[in-house]
């Protein structure tokens, strides 16, 4: 499946504009130990990242969703998510900066 350059840029822009809110909300839910909200937002992030092929972040979100039942530290997973997300943000920003205007 190959997107046109213009379509790819639109998807990059959408990633950069629509995901920060979701990540911030998820981080806040983890900090405040709102477990149902964490499960729901992690589920949403998993689907969204899976759709664009961001498999590492999608997998981390999946693990965060099940962290409560598997005895894994949500804080640690959230830290990994934030690092992976920052890496993706950087990647998409560079894609936009390097592509045609």
């Amino acid at each position: 499946m190959q997107f046109s350059a213009a379509a790819y840029r639109r998807i990059c822009r959408e990633f950069l504009s629509s995901t920060p809110g979701l990540i911030a909300e998820l981080d806040s839910a983890v900090r405040n130990n709102h477990q149902d909200k964490v499960a729901s937002l992690a589920h949403q992030l998993k689907g969204s990242m899976g759709t664009i092929g961001a498999v590492v972040l999608s997998d981390l979100a999946h693990r965060l969703g099940g962290a409560r039942t598997q005895g894994i530290s949500s804080q640690e997973l959230m830290g990994e998510i934030l690092r992976e997300y920052a890496r993706l943000q950087e990647f998409f920003e560079s894609e936009l900066a390097g592509g045609p205007a």
Partner: protein, 310 residues
């Protein structure tokens, strides 16, 4: 195909729009179920792809609304879900969903489902078109079956359909009605003398006069070969007799003035009004007896069957 995608994940919406447009479809996206519903009411869609869990109206509720509204032409409905449990899918299918896709989105899976959706949608469209053509054909057939082709008037079948309703109204609301039966005088002789084509022209002329002279609420039929029947509701027997006489005079004048006809034609007529407790067949029978008396008395005249309790 016009594809509507509803999801509260804007990144997914963007990806879907690009993909679906690249497959040659026309994709619209909305961020929640209520917006999808408003879009479907206003513009419709051939294919709906909806997330299950959305704020407000969810995907299954949206599908139920769509299926319950006959004004919305059947869209192929695909539910996007992360729920993999079999029982959930069954619930969705029972609500009217045609297919489902699980998240994260499998792009080949989406493409495959759109191929099936287009095929099914085209089948639905063909079926709908065939049904509309059949309905139109049935209406035309029904109209043709109840109309006499030569005179343009209702035929005996139409009379048999109409008369019970008129009689029921008489029983229910005491709406009286009168029947006038007409017969073209010496019609066999007219045919023998001038030929059947001229006889048919006389029948057509009588039909034309009856059609033109009908008053609001009156109904005219070709009753048999050269017999015509008029139903005149809400009038006294005297008014009905005057009305029937007017038809006789108009036919005599029109056939005399028609240059295509070799000779004028006259009508004999019998008129009867419905009585309390009487059947529709009985009042037609009395009008027929009055017509018979008009014939026996020398033709080209009208006889009234005077009611016993007028």
């Amino acid at each position: 195909m016009r594809v509507l995608v509803a999801d509260d994940d804007f990144l997914l919406l963007e990806v879907m729009r690009e993909l679906i447009n690249s497959f040659g479809h026309e994709c619209r996206t909305v961020g929640d179920g209520e917006s999808a519903w408003q879009h479907l009411l206003a513009d419709g869609a051939d294919i709906v792809i909806s997330d299950w869990l959305m704020p407000g109206l969810n995907g299954v509720q949206l599908c139920e609304r769509v299926r319950a509204n006959p004004a919305i032409e059947y869209p192929y409905f695909i539910l996007l879900t992360a729920r993999g449990e079999h029982s959930d899918v069954i619930t969705a299918m029972r609500a009217g969903v045609d297919d489902h896709l699980t998240k994260p989105l499998d792009l080949k899976g989406l493409q495959a489902r759109l191929i099936v959706a287009e095929r099914v949608r085209n089948l639905h469209r063909d079926m709908l078109q065939t049904r509309r053509q059949l309905e139109t054909a049935n209406l035309r057939l029904n109209e043709a079956a109840h109309r006499d082709a030569l005179t343009g008037l209702g035929n005996r079948l139409k009379l048999n359909d109409d008369l019970p309703g008129i009689h029921a109204r008489f029983l229910r609301e005491a709406h009286r009605f009168n029947i006038a039966l007409f017969d073209i005088d010496e019609f066999k002789s007219y045919n023998d003398t001038y030929g059947h084509q001229k006889g048919d022209a006389v029948l057509a002329e009588v039909g034309k006069v009856f059609g033109e002279q009908l008053r609001q609420g009156d109904l005219a039929y070709r009753y048999g070969g050269e017999e015509f029947l008029l139903i005149m509701p809400n009038r006294s027997i005297e008014q009905a007799a005057r009305g029937a006489e007017r038809f006789r005079e108009c036919v005599a004048r029109a056939t005399a003035e028609n240059p295509q006809l070799p000779a004028p034609a006259t009508l004999s007529a019998g008129v009867a009004g419905i009585r309390e407790g009487e059947t529709a067949e009985s009042v037609v029978g009395r009008a027929d007896q009055a017509l018979y008396r008009a014939k026996r008395s020398g033709r080209n005249r009208l006889m009234v069957d005077i009611p016993e309790h007028a």
